[in-house]
Amino acid sequence: MNEDNNIKDDLDFWATNSEEGGWNISSTDEGSQKMLEEEDEKQIKIQTGSDVVDDYVYSEETTDDERMIVNMGPQHPSTHGVLRLQVELEGEVVRRVKPVIGYLHTGMEKTGEELAYFQGPTNTTRMDYLSPLFNELVFSLTTEKLLDIEVPERAKAIRILMTELNRISSHLVALATGGMDIGALSMMIFGFRERELILNFFEKTSGLRMNHNYIRPGGVAADLPDNWQKDIKEILKIIPEKLKDYDEMLLDNPIWQGRLKNVGILTTEECFAYGITGPSLRASGFSWDLRKTQPYSGIENYEFEVPLLTDSDVFSRWRIKVLEIFESLKIVEQVMDTIPKGAYRIQDKKVTPPPRQRLDESMEALIHHFKIYTEGFKVPPGKAYVAVESPRGELGCYIVSDGSSKPYRMHVRGPSFCNLQALPVIMADSPIADAVAAIASLDPVIGDVDR
């Protein structure tokens, strides 16, 4: 212990320590060891970082030169958007973290109260901009639950097809940006290259690469384009091959493993305490997927498995995304083979406008069309909450209707907002270099956090 204290006095403390190999904090620093013991008593740390302030008063346990507060963001290349973190460092070890959010607050819940139900997906699609179709889906499902209508089977199948493709593209971006954060720059190029394939299909179907406004209350905006099976077959052929490339490049790569394994542990108990769902929960060894447990839009008709990993570290959170892409591809293939014929939106005059050619023939159809697109359809009073499994976890929508054509209150439960609360837990007591890997593994989308 004496020897350790001598080292501590040395100015070159961290350099010496790293020569000895590893970040053996508890043996060299009494203060931090005491802190760790205290934390063991509480099973779940309530670590909000609320005591990280700029005029931090140093405790007696630490000397002045050891602790400092570093501000990371809001404009920072590896925080996945405009996330700001106040990081309290002791040497190079993160002690406390306080996420500061709100730099992308767009007031979408307020705007949602001003837009009619048929305009709603235009608004919600811009929340989680990596998985826009899920936002449209959850808003449409909630509105349909309030209206008490059931969409045709073909519309359901199209919705599943599009959202599962969207899950693939979202995971590809997560893998790409996550790889870039950790230094695997080829991964960035690869991920975006494969994403283009799926975006081309989206552009063909809905007219836009992102923010589609394609899934609407009552069905979808348009039918699938001609020869869509050809594009899907191409996607089904190319993406598994490329995923094998990723595995070849990274899975057995000792640098990648050493960088990610046993880093950023997030256990199942912590997931429960913070309400964290999605890949992070499944990577901690708890199988929970709303597609299996609370199925929506007819996804129970397709066969797929829920991947499960038990290591609960950054590596398994990265790996589970790759495995989920394979499962989504399975669903896409089944939808392609079994898609039923029929209408792509509900044939209910209350919700659906008349087809274009009827407008030239019938005055009533024209009036009806005009009424739907100016006033909107009325939704009976009530409350509804519907949740779907988005690429990041449970995405829920809570709508309160007062009987008019606009929602009285529209609230979206974004998964990233909740998952971000785990950052202080994951990042605590790990080197600052691992912090970037931890942020990337949670895959937060700030548009979804701030709304």
Binding site: I46, I101, H105, G275, K383, Y385, H411, Q421
Partner: protein, 137 residues
């Protein structure tokens, strides 16, 4: 999957949540509020959404907040994940949460005045000016 909805009085709120936690509702999924401005008494209602993964059921709790004192107990001790949600409700509706570890604005800047999601707070729409539009003094 089952979805239950119950109404809870404010003095029973903390204990009810605690009981449901013991009863197997492991996760707090969502916490939000509704402003019933001039539609209903009392004006504000806090909505808590709990999820039980073991029983595969959801529970939605409606808690009316009395008008004279917009204060409600914080459930951060029971569910640490409620932290951000309660700050969001405080920011957007101005409802205070007792015993919250850090009750500050979360989405809006710290020096902002007003609570944007209240019904008597305007949406802040700026009229769009087109070319050669008549000038308003």
């Amino acid at each position: 999957m089952s979805l239950d909805e119950i109404n809870v009085e404010i003095d029973q709120y903390f204990k009810t949540v605690e009981d449901y936690k013991k009863d197997g509702y492991e996760m707090m999924i969502d916490l939000t509020a509704v402003d019933w401005y001039r539609k209903k008494e009392p004006r504000f209602e806090v909505i808590v959404n709990l999820l039980s993964v073991s029983k595969n059921s959801r529970l939605i709790m409606n808690v009316p907040v009395p008008d004279e004192d917009l204060t409600i107990p914080s459930i951060c001790e029971i569910y640490p994940g409620a932290n951000f949600y309660e700050r969001e409700v405080f920011d957007m509706f101005g409802i205070k949460f007792e015993n919250h570890p850090e009750l500050t604005r979360i989405l809006m800047p710290d020096d902002w005045t007003g609570n944007p999601l209240r019904k008597d707070y305007g949406s802040g729409r700026i009229p769009v000016q087109f070319k050669n539009a008549p000038k308003v003094d």
